[in-house]
């Protein structure tokens, strides 16, 4: 029998913490961090005007797009579907957060990693759908490039998550469960090897999946004028921006919790735990931003060979070791 309290807790978890609102806020703060850091690396100031050291700039940008800018529509543009798909992507991410120990309402079951991965795929589906619901040649080329990229990168993400959970929740009551892998990891030397390999593969694949330089091939401002996002405006663009940065925040958070041990060496009950998580999160983000600032865009075939060489191979090796261990 499900109590009213549980339902309320679930709703609050999905909508506020660590779900929708939390993800959007963390996502936009992540955007601020990346913009500021890239700005400094490029001899610019970066966001500055709104809020202390420009912290509120991304929020101001999104709010402006939502309430001030108009939505431009044209024939052949599937407006409603666009919004629905992006909302679904955002919702799926928020729901996936319930699998982590950050959530007061915990979801765990044996083999729940499958559901987790399924939920993660929704953002990609949303972005691919953007390309298909607009009749602009730039968007079409952009979405075909995204699909190519995803075709190679998604298996990497799936393989590395499965390999890690396989190792970490080996002897637990709920095998292959995200929650028990994070909260109660079983680690030996071989397991450590698997995790390091998976982390490398996962980390790079996140950059591919979230279209960060040098993998911003589907967006490619100077080639495709924004590609996927070329025809978005007003609230829809705001939604796309929120979805994009929430995805980056979500995936980096998962990397922090699953591969880097969350608050380790502290535990989840410790009041300094969130600080440790934040520091690890920022370190990952710093590396991503550093790569982003020091690389040019590569060609799609260069990207796919890079993914196969450095990501797919590594993650498959990790999976083989994990299954043998």
């Amino acid at each position: 029998m499900v109590s009213l309290y549980e339902i309320l807790l679930a709703v609050v978890s999905v909508l506020i913490y660590p779900g929708l609102i939390f993800l959007i806020v963390v996502g936009l703060l992540t955007q601020w961090f990346m913009r500021k850091l890239v700005g400094r690396l490029q001899n610019r100031i970066g966001p500055k005007y709104v809020g202390p050291i420009g912290l509120a700039q991304p929020f101001a940008d999104v709010l402006k797009l939502m309430f001030v800018k108009e939505e431009l529509s044209f024939r052949g543009r599937l407006d409603k579907f666009l919004a629905i798909f992006m909302a679904l992507g955002l919702g799926a991410l928020a729901t996936a957060m319930l699998f982590t120990p950050l959530s007061p309402y915990v979801v765990k079951a044996p083999y729940d990693v499958i559901i987790f991965i399924y939920l993660m795929l929704w953002t990609t589906a949303a972005f691919s759908f953007i390309g298909l619901s607009l009749s602009n040649p730039f968007t079409i080329v952009g979405s075909s490039r995204l699909l190519t990229q995803i075709l190679f990168a998604e298996p990497v993400i799936v393989t590395s998550i499965i390999a890690t959970t396989l190792v970490l929740s080996r002897n637990s009551e709920t095998p292959l469960s995200i929650y028990s892998s994070i909260i109660n990891p079983k680690l030996d030397v071989l397991g450590l090897v698997v995790i390091v390999l998976s982390l490398i593969a996962f980390f790079l694949a996140v950059m591919v999946k979230t279209m960060i330089k040098p993998f911003d091939i589907p967006e490619a401002e100077t080639e495709l004028a924004g590609g996927l996002l070329a025809e978005l405006s007003g609230p829809t663009l705001a939604l796309a921006i929120m979805l994009h940065y929430s995805e980056i925040a979500f995936l980096t958070l998962i990397a922090t919790l699953l591969f880097l041990g969350g608050p380790y060496p502290l535990s989840y009950g410790d009041y300094l735990g969130p600080l440790v998580i934040a520091v690890k999160y920022l370190i990952l983000l710093f590396i991503i931003t550093l790569i982003r600032a020091s690389a040019g865009r590569i060609r799609i075939e260069q990207a796919s060979s890079m993914i196969i060489k450095y990501m797919l191979t590594v993650s498959v090796v990790a999976l083989i070791i994990a299954s043998l261990a």
């Binding site: 044209f74 490619a220 590569i298």
Partner: protein, 550 residues
Amino acid sequence: MVDVVKTLYEVLGGKILRHEVIRDGVVIDVRPEDLVSVVKGITEGLGGIYTVVVGVDGRGIDNTYHSIYVFSLDELKTYVLIRVRLSPEDPKVESITPIVKGANWGEREVRDLLGIEVLGHPDPRTLILPDGWPSNTYPLRKDFSYCERPRLDNPGSNYVPQRSEEVVALPYGPYHPLLHEPEYFELHVKGETVVDVEYRGFHVHRGIEKLGESRLTYNQVPFVAERICGICGFVHNVCYCQAVENAAGIEVPERALYIRSLVLEVERIHSHLLWLGVACHVLGFDTGFMHAWRIREPVMYLAELLTGSRKTYGINLVGGVRRDVNRDSIEKVVKILKKVKEEYDHFVKSLTSVKEVVKRLEGSGILPKSEAISYGVVGPTARGSGLKRDVRVDHPYAAYKEASFRVPVYSECDNMSRLLVRVDEVYESISIIDQLIDKLPSGPIMAEDVEVPEFREGFSGVEAPRGEDVHYVITGRFSKVYRWKVRAPSYNNIPALKVMLHECPLSDAPLTIASIDPCFSCTDRLVVVDVLTGRKFRVDLRTLARRGKL
């Protein structure tokens, strides 16, 4: 010059009706029916490279139209101007495009603006005038008033999409983040490969040549000429002044020549740094973009120090310069350049060590040497294809005789070689400035006697950062120019993009377009009236509005 004339007579024999030696070139008169064979003799026999076609409404001089084909004889260090005189009633001339691909645009321009019919042209579509321009109205004829605005017929709305099932037409322009000026490239893409490209330019309509010929006096034109380009305007300014000086036989004081060279080199440095930044941006390497422009900033300051403005210096007049440089600023110049060189060194090393950037640059946008010659490409585009062409060496002007420098040439013919040419040129420019400052003579900066006689021809070339810029001038009455023709470097380079873009991966197409450092506003200075249109189809504003809305 005697040798040149002798050689010309040896190669062309009796086809030369008469010749006239001008400063920096030889004008030969030929019969219209001999034109093609003369051009063949010049290109095949003497290795002449196409420079420009100039049309002149000479009815006010000798009651004929002139069509002048200019070729650069780099080895003989001179230009040869082949002039045919055409009947005033029905000017017609055989096309030379079948043998010289580069003349394609030049001949169409002459037809559009002066009504000189070109027979046997392989691509006789309108080039410059907008669709709907009334027939038999030629804006550069002398009987066409500069303030006249003809009514355009409605361009119509017969919109026919031109893409087949497999080809996606990607519109690059008129407004696109890649192009910072309005220009239209339609890339036909199959998968990720560009199979064809369509170009439609001439969206910027200023009518500067007409303005210069009808309203301005000699010494007003340089200021307008400088505004042809927003990056390398000074080259147009110098080139015009030199053309008039050549026509009038004015001797410019040595110090003025040095100052011109100094400022030209400062302009080259800032332009190349600007381009390097843009190239990084096109590659998605924005960090490189920001840092290139950071390094460029002191160079802009340097320009201000020498001339009083960061851009559009306005220091040139026919006969010399208006503003001297003082000793204090020269000391600062040396100091600033030293710092710029250090930072630039560091920047270039980091740029060429980013693997992604190098991989994207190498092997893309190939322009073979033979095509480069046929299209008559100029500047770094030519030097990246193994052609050793540089106006500063081939047709020395200003104070370049006094400086020793290397002309960087790379023969890989790809985007990387064009980049390396520009990278090396910045070092050379810094060295030229150092040398000129050491030797800077004292003395006046303006010629004492500036008299411009009527109806004299002058021709001059200047090596702009983008390549050879040429101006042709016929002096006129009442302190005005009778004919002023400008040919900016991009005018010769853009047609060669068709070769470079063929079978190019889509991701490299923007870089290839950027690799010629196209300066569209220089190219576009001739059109008079505006209409938004693609080449194969026409879309007027009404259709666009109707089709754009839900």
